[in-house]
């Protein structure tokens, strides 16, 4: 009896001893009845079993307490109100007191004096996820049409992301050029709306096609396709302050259908050649997107989207620019070897209708791309570009790129891209783009 007591107390001091204690007890047990009578065994065994059970129960309680402490420490979730936090903490302390008073007591004190939500060390735990992503680009080759600097810290993106309260989450992405800062995105997402709606309010990349939604660091290329640059506002793209509402629409046969409607102020696409420009308050722009998705097999899926955007261009309130887009993506990723091989084939086709003087310009452009994952760290891709220019639809540029990407780890990436462009007016350019990207901190995952 005495030995089992010491065993018990010791087991609480250290984790490792816990199983040792149980194991040694179990090993000792079968030997016991052999040397003593059956009646003795009958009285001894229940004692041991009860003790073992007690040890197990206490062990379970310690583990559940550890879990609660971990949850309190780590939870990025909405902070419980101070009163309940204090209550649970003291409750936890009270529960823990007979078992191990040391680790939990200071925490309860910290909670008790907290003002306005969490205090002390817990406040740090409620900081948003902060991340920084560096994007360095080096370019070799001559391009008189769209010249790029030889070496450039192209973008440094800071991300702040957190759950705001039980009803919403917030995301901020600030992109720093070598000079100047730009709020790339900053919005609140209301996740708890009735009837399955999800709403966003703030500045955001609009849901026009695929590439427009992507931040620079998730592009499979160094640059953006020609059609983006010519028709959809360049690198900044359709990115504006406004309101977005989306909802999944029930469809048969496991087809995913999602509709998005967005209303923006009407300023998009940089300052030099803006895509949309609001000359008056009523010059708002609108974007609509319909996305359908279907799993063909567990490894293969198809994603097709229709997009429409409408806004006023830089000539004034009387001049509309309308964009129509179709995007299609085919993905393949075998689940058993998902970290080694995958394929993404993609195409986006965009029609632009721009009212200007002397007459409307109707331009068309597209890109198609394919990316294959060769191994865990290597990706090989290619892209074909074709696009008219929005203001001069009779001028057409064409291009082709080959891309090789290496990921030393999930958090850094080295990429080389050979880019050939045949500009309108018979200007051929050959360029080599090198890119290094690296990520610090906790950058939340991007939507699929």
């Amino acid at each position: 009896m005495f030995t089992s007591f010491t065993l018990m107390s010791r087991s609480f001091r250290t984790h490792g001893f816990r199983t040792l204690a149980i194991a040694s007890l179990m090993i000792a047990m079968p030997a016991y009845p052999q040397q003593s009578g059956a009646s003795q065994a009958g009285s001894g065994q229940p004692d041991n079993a009860a003790l073992l059970q007690k040890i197990r129960d206490l062990e379970d309680r310690v583990i559940s307490l550890e879990g609660q402490v971990r949850l309190l420490k780590s939870q990025a979730a909405p902070a419980p109100s101070p009163a309940t936090a204090a209550a649970t903490a003291t409750e936890a302390a009270a529960k823990a007191a007979p078992v191990s008073p040391t680790p939990v007591a200071p925490l309860s004190q910290a909670q008790a004096i907290s003002l306005g939500g969490a205090g002390g060390s817990a406040a740090k735990a409620l900081n948003p996820d902060i991340s920084a992503i560096g994007d360095f680009i080096a370019v070799a080759g001559h391009n008189p049409v769209q010249p790029s600097p030889s070496l450039e810290m192209h973008e440094s993106e800071l991300g702040f992301q957190a759950i705001i309260d039980p009803y919403a989450r917030g995301d901020f992405f600030l992109s720093f050029g070598e000079e100047g800062v730009n709020l790339e995105e900053g919005y609140i997402t209301f996740t708890a709306l009735p009837a399955g709606f999800v709403a966003k309010v703030g500045k955001m990349r609009s849901a026009f096609g695929k590439v427009n939604l992507m931040h620079n660091h998730v592009l499979p290329w160094v640059d953006r396709p020609l059609v983006t640059n010519s028709l959809v506002g360049g690198e900044d793209g359709l990115d504006d302050a406004g309101v977005s509402i989306e909802r999944i629409i029930p469809a048969p046969k496991g087809i995913f259908v999602e509709a998005t409607g967005q209303l923006f102020r009407g300023d998009s696409g940089g300052t030099e050649h803006p895509l949309f420009k609001a000359s008056t308050k009523s010059d708002v722009s609108a974007v609509a997107h319909l996305r359908t998705y279907k799993d063909i097999t567990e490894a293969t899926n198809v994603d097709i989207g229709l997009s429409y955007a409408r806004g006023h261009n830089d000539l004034g309130s009387n001049f509309l620019t309308q964009l129509y887009g179709i995007d299609a993506t085919l993905r393949w990723k075998p689940l058993r070897r998902s970290i080694y091989h995958s394929f993404i084939g993609r195409g986006e086709f965009i029609w632009s209708q721009r009212q200007q003087l002397p007459f409307e310009q109707r331009a068309f452009g597209f890109y198609t791309s394919a990316d294959y994952q060769l191994g865990r760290r290597w990706f090989l891709g290619g892209r074909y570009d074709h696009s008219d220019r929005s203001e001069f639809a009779n001028l057409t540029d064409q291009g082709a790129s080959a891309v090789l990407t290496y990921w030393p780890s999930e958090f850094s990436q080295v990429r080389g891209q050979y880019r050939f462009i045949h500009y309108a007016g018979n200007i051929d350019t050959h360029e080599l783009l090198m890119q290094v990207q690296f990520s610090l901190g906790a950058h939340g995952a991007h939507p699929f």
Binding site: T19, M26, D60, I63, S64, E66, G67, Q68, R70, S74, A77, P78, I163, Y167, R169, T189, T191, A192, P194, G196, V198, E246, R247, I248, I249, G254, F256, A259, Y293, D295, N301, D303, D314, L315, G316, S317, N318, F319, L335, R336, R337, S338, I339, Y340, Q355, Q356, L357, P358, F359, E360, R376, R377, S409, E410, F411, G444, A445, H446, P447, F448
Partner: protein, 375 residues
């Protein structure tokens, strides 16, 4: 000039007063410095303007032509469809979605026929790298309860799914979100500073905690409690199911412990750090990993070190998760004479392993075979 005139045929004259036109065109005229003939204006808001002589394409009344009429009808129809299509199908059973198959298996044990449960990830898939496919949103939007493994195992894919699901019930912090790690004993919690130089470390501890029957019991108890909270009418049923599971698990545990008894203290190498809870429960000694650091693929120098270590410690078993490439483990096996076995970290890793018990049955049988072969 002729060309320009032709081009202007596209535009229709407006009835607006000259003043209006010039006011409207002030900006563009200034900007572009272009001259427009009076009475002409780019086509826009032409709904109010009567048909013009040049147009022969106006068979229908003006109001039907109107863009501003046609669009709202379409948009309104679409909006009505969107709003009134059912958001969540009414189901009598509690609809549970779990991130991994193990959580689904444990939920099934305690939920019995009063719930329906589905896992997002497959058992043979690397749970760190699941794609956040939209088809999963279809499951999540109808879920009453989402059970995650937690400890940032799913950080790369579950948060965007939850946000996009449009389902308030399963948002983090809502009653329908359950992080199962709170119930389990967690190992390898890093102390001191955590940096990415350590690889893809999980700052909150090793998330592969379910491969310990004791943790399985604790998780099941937590889930049973949660199901009871969500569906108080069946609370007693869930408790009964848990007690039944507990009994069966204890019996199985005894059997497993006995089977593994002769192999206590045996040394093994695993590919990823997904084995600590199993090793602790069954008293195995994990001396090294094929990955130099968690999430970093094997490097030649580390592989050589590992081979030397295995020879020194006479470790004869390499355990590989089903989603990793076998090339490096096999070359290690050849160099050291070790057995390379593909063990299952999760239910559903192989077709015949459909529940939590079979998972241990499978892995233990595999281990014993390997240990015996390399005595």
């Amino acid at each position: 000039m002729n060309a320009i005139q032709n081009s202007f045929r596209l535009f229709r004259p407006m009835r607006n007063s000259q003043a209006q036109i010039s006011r409207r065109l002030k900006k563009p005229l200034k900007k572009s410095g272009m001259q427009i003939p009076r009475g002409l204006s780019p086509t826009r808001n032409d709904k109010a303007n009567g048909p013009i002589g040049t147009s022969k394409l106006v068979p229908s009344p003006i109001w039907v032509q109107s863009r501003f009429f046609q669009r709202p009808v379409l948009i309104l129809g679409l909006a009505l469809w969107i709003v009134f299509s059912p958001a969540v199908a009414e189901a009598k059973k509690l609809n549970v979605v779990t991130s991994t198959t193990d959580m689904a298996a444990l939920t099934q044990e305690v939920g019995g026929d009063k719930i329906s449960v589905e896992s997002i990830a497959k058992g043979y898939q690397d749970p760190h790298f699941v794609e956040a496919k939209p088809s999963f949103l279809l499951k999540l939007r109808q879920a009453d309860l989402l059970i995650s493994v937690g400890l940032q195992l799913e950080i790369g894919w579950l948060p965007p799914l939850i946000t996009q699901s449009g389902n308030p019930k399963i948002q983090v912090g809502a009653p329908g979100y359950l992080d199962a790690s709170q119930f389990a004993e967690i190992l390898e919690i890093p102390t001191g500073t955590v940096t990415r130089a350590m690889g893809d470390v999980h700052p909150l501890g090793n998330p592969h905690y379910w491969l310990d029957p004791d943790n399985g019991r604790r998780i099941a108890r937590g889930i049973a409690q949660k199901l009871g909270d969500m569906d108080p009418n069946d609370s007693a049923y869930f408790q009964q199911q848990f007690l039944d599971f507990d009994k069966r698990l204890s019996a199985a545990e005894q059997k497993w412990d006995q089977e593994m008894q002769p192999y206590h203290g045996r040394k093994v190498v695993t590919y990823h750090r997904s084995f600590p809870n199993f090793a602790k429960h069954f008293d195995l000694d994990v001396i090294g990993y094929v990955e130099p650091r968690p999430g970093i693929p094997p490097t030649p120098s580390h592989t050589i070190e590992l081979i030397q270590l295995m020879k020194r410690e006479s470790c004869k078993v390499v355990l590989v998760e089903p989603y990793f490439d076998l090339k490096t483990p096999q070359s290690i096996g050849q160099a050291t004479g070790a057995q390379v076995i593909v063990y299952l970290p999760s239910v559903g890793g192989e077709k015949q392993v459909t529940n939590y018990f079979q998972l241990f049955d499978y892995d233990i049988a595999l281990l014993i075979k390997a240990f015996n072969a390399t005595k």
